[in-house]
């Protein structure tokens, strides 16, 4: 390695200075708690008495626990439905918003508002809308002569109803990321393609998407990681019910820790989620990451 030039060195120092506040926050509020959680995962701790070292027994118990297995399946389902639909919708809307259409700013704002709202407030509002007996949605269905739908009342419907709210709530966030990517594409590239006679679809698939593939990839990773950790919406909307229908991973983790006073098991669950997310992310980097085109950056 060649020695850093004077300029690069100065830049590096400035860079570290810039990230110092964030790094400090990361250490205090993330890294230390993470380390504590890893240790607690090997203990039995009821929050009241001193933790007792139990080795891997929390992990063994969890792997045998049918509710734990169920919560893993529920979460995978959530991720598999949420991520593709949400990203595709956001991309479509971002492409539309990137053109000059009327009321562009108003529409953008409307998509951002749910994202900046509190998830619990959003969840509660939707439980009123979804309410099977007195809710707005079913009131409309009945008015137009259709049957009521048990949105949150039936185990077959509840999960999809929660996912729909999640997709809607964070659409704005993904739209912003995609818009930023789209605006990186130089106008000349697009114009050159038009001159060459490429159709809109060809331009989209051959030029736009490859050029913003780093952004697509980034969004995919962020979305997968975020969705694995879904908590507030099911917590506020269904409490994991009806029955076990929406009992996602983090909801069960929360219950284990704070309701059932099994903080050791809850910590072990957190560690396992970390591993699951780590493996998934590594998988995406290997499989999808290679095909990302970094020409623009």
């Amino acid at each position: 390695m060649a020695r850093m030039s004077q300029k690069r060195k100065r830049e590096a120092i400035a860079g570290y200075l810039f990230i110092t506040p964030n790094l400090f926050g990361f250490l205090v509020f993330q890294l230390i708690p993470i380390a504590v959680a890893i240790v607690l995962g090997f203990t039995e701790w009821d929050l009241i008495n001193e933790p007792i070292w139990v080795g891997f027994s929390n992990y063994r118990n969890l792997l045998k626990d049918p509710v734990f297995q169920l919560s893993v399946r529920k979460t995978l389902y959530f991720v598999l439905v949420n991520v593709p639909v949400q990203s595709a919708l956001a991309l479509l809307i971002a492409i539309l918003l990137n053109r000059s259409i009327r009321f562009k700013n108003l529409i953008r704002t409307l998509f951002i508002v749910p994202w900046v709202s509190m998830a619990v407030a959003v969840g509660l509002t939707w439980t009123w809308i979804y309410n099977s007996q007195f809710g707005l949605l079913n009131e409309i269905l009945v008015k137009v002569g259709l049957d009521k739908i048990p949105w949150l009342a039936h185990p077959d419907w509840a999960m999809i109803s929660v996912i729909v709210v999640n997709i809607w709530q964070f659409l704005g966030f993904h739209i912003i990321i995609f818009l930023a990517g789209l605006q990186m594409i130089p106008r000349e590239v697009e114009e050159a393609a038009i001159v060459d006679g490429a159709s809109t679809l060809t331009r989209c698939f051959r030029i736009t998407l490859p050029l913003i593939s780093p952004v697509l990839f980034y969004d995919l990773i962020v979305n997968v990681i975020g969705t694995f950790q879904i908590f507030d919406l099911p917590y506020a909307m269904t409490g994991g019910g009806p029955g076990q229908a929406t009992r996602v991973y983090n909801l069960y983790l929360y219950q284990k820790g704070f309701q059932f006073l099994r903080m050791g098991e809850a910590s072990a669950m957190a560690v396992m989620l970390f591993i699951i997310i780590g493996i998934t992310t590594a998988f995406f980097f290997r499989v999808v990451g290679r095909r990302v085109n970094y020409d623009l950056t």
Binding site: D46, L47, I48, N49, T127, W128, Y130, N131, S132, Q133, F134, G135, V142, D147, K148, P150, L152, A153, H154, P155, M237, T238, G239, G240, G241, P242, G243, Q244, Q255, F258, Q259, F260, L261, M263
Partner: protein, 435 residues
Amino acid sequence: MRKSIVLLVLLALVVASGTAGAQKVTLRYMFWDQNQQEAYAASIDEFMRLNPDIEVVMELAEWNDYWTKLTTGMAARNLPDVFWGHAAYFSAFVARGALLDLQPLIERDNIDTSIYYQSLLDFWSYEGAQYGLAKDWDTIAFFYNKDLFDAAGVPYPSDDWTWNPQDGGEFVRTLQLLTLDDQGRNALDPNFDPKKVVQYGLGDIGGANMQAGWLNFVWMNGGTGVLDKPYGSKLVMNEPECIEVLQFWSDLVNKYHVAPPPEATVAGGSPWDLFTAGRFAMVPAGSWMLTAGRSIEAFSWDVVGMPWGPAGRYSAFNGLAHNIYAQTPHQEEAWRLLEWLEGYESQKIVAEYGCVFPAIGELVPTFLEAYAGRDPENVAVYNDMAENTGTWPMHVNWNEIFDIIQRELDMMLQGFVDAETTVANIEMQVGHLLQ
């Protein structure tokens, strides 16, 4: 010279305030019911007047956050010194050593515990130690909206009304007359459309509502309840009397259509909101809801006792007490506060506000007087309901057990499974928690 005098005075002030501050102890007091805030603030003001060396800070945490706050507080070794306890959570806390044993203090100070109802004291004893005295007690009855009864031309329920699990009896007939679809047809009308109900006879019958809901009916049908005995290790929900009642409870929703499925009241605002909005003609309500009922202005209302079942009339009987955090640095002061709050003078102050039935029997008339000349007229039925009471299920793993029971019962009430399967599902899941 002048400068040094000023310095000396300042120094004296600092020392004086320092020692005064050291003498004054601040106690944190946590509770969950806003309806009782005013009454307890009055009592605590009086306590602080009598005990100038103690400062009490009241912290209100709503029921839904209350227990999470307590448990996280324990983890952080930062718990309020004195706080309200509830039978449903007591067993988990006491078994883990979070609460202070009061027995030595009771004996030291010769506290006369005979002024309290014995069954209330029993709630707070565990393995021979006593963790609370008694703050109040409550029973269950039904609140009903008189205006909706008048509009439907149904006579108000009488104190000797009845129910049975086979056809529901007088109880279900009353509810059917009070359940209306969007065309104003009641649930007995052959053209009644159960999919378009705008007003239900009954609300708040979810699986979570054990205390004011299904458990009372299990007892009234001759069933034991949930566990064979307090801290018992046997689930007795498979008794035929219990299964019969759970099926009846499901029928209220799925067969008679006189009550909404639990999801509709969990997600659609609380059952209480729907009652005060005139969507429910009746709700089962603990006596602690009486203060909340005072704010009802849209209609006139009253209370009626539980309907008589095949095995008579029963109510859950529960009481709160103040608990002291085992690790408090101010044990002596906390005990003085607890002694005051459970004592005669404080319970008298609180009873005069009419919030909750005092744990001291002698003060019950004082409490009832607070309701003279206002709704509900029959407030005394809560006192009658205390005649026959069932035993509250207690278990060190109760939170986990109840989470399972509540989920499975809700599935049943939504109409997906029958009572027998539900109980079998519960049994299967709670087995390892009961050992």
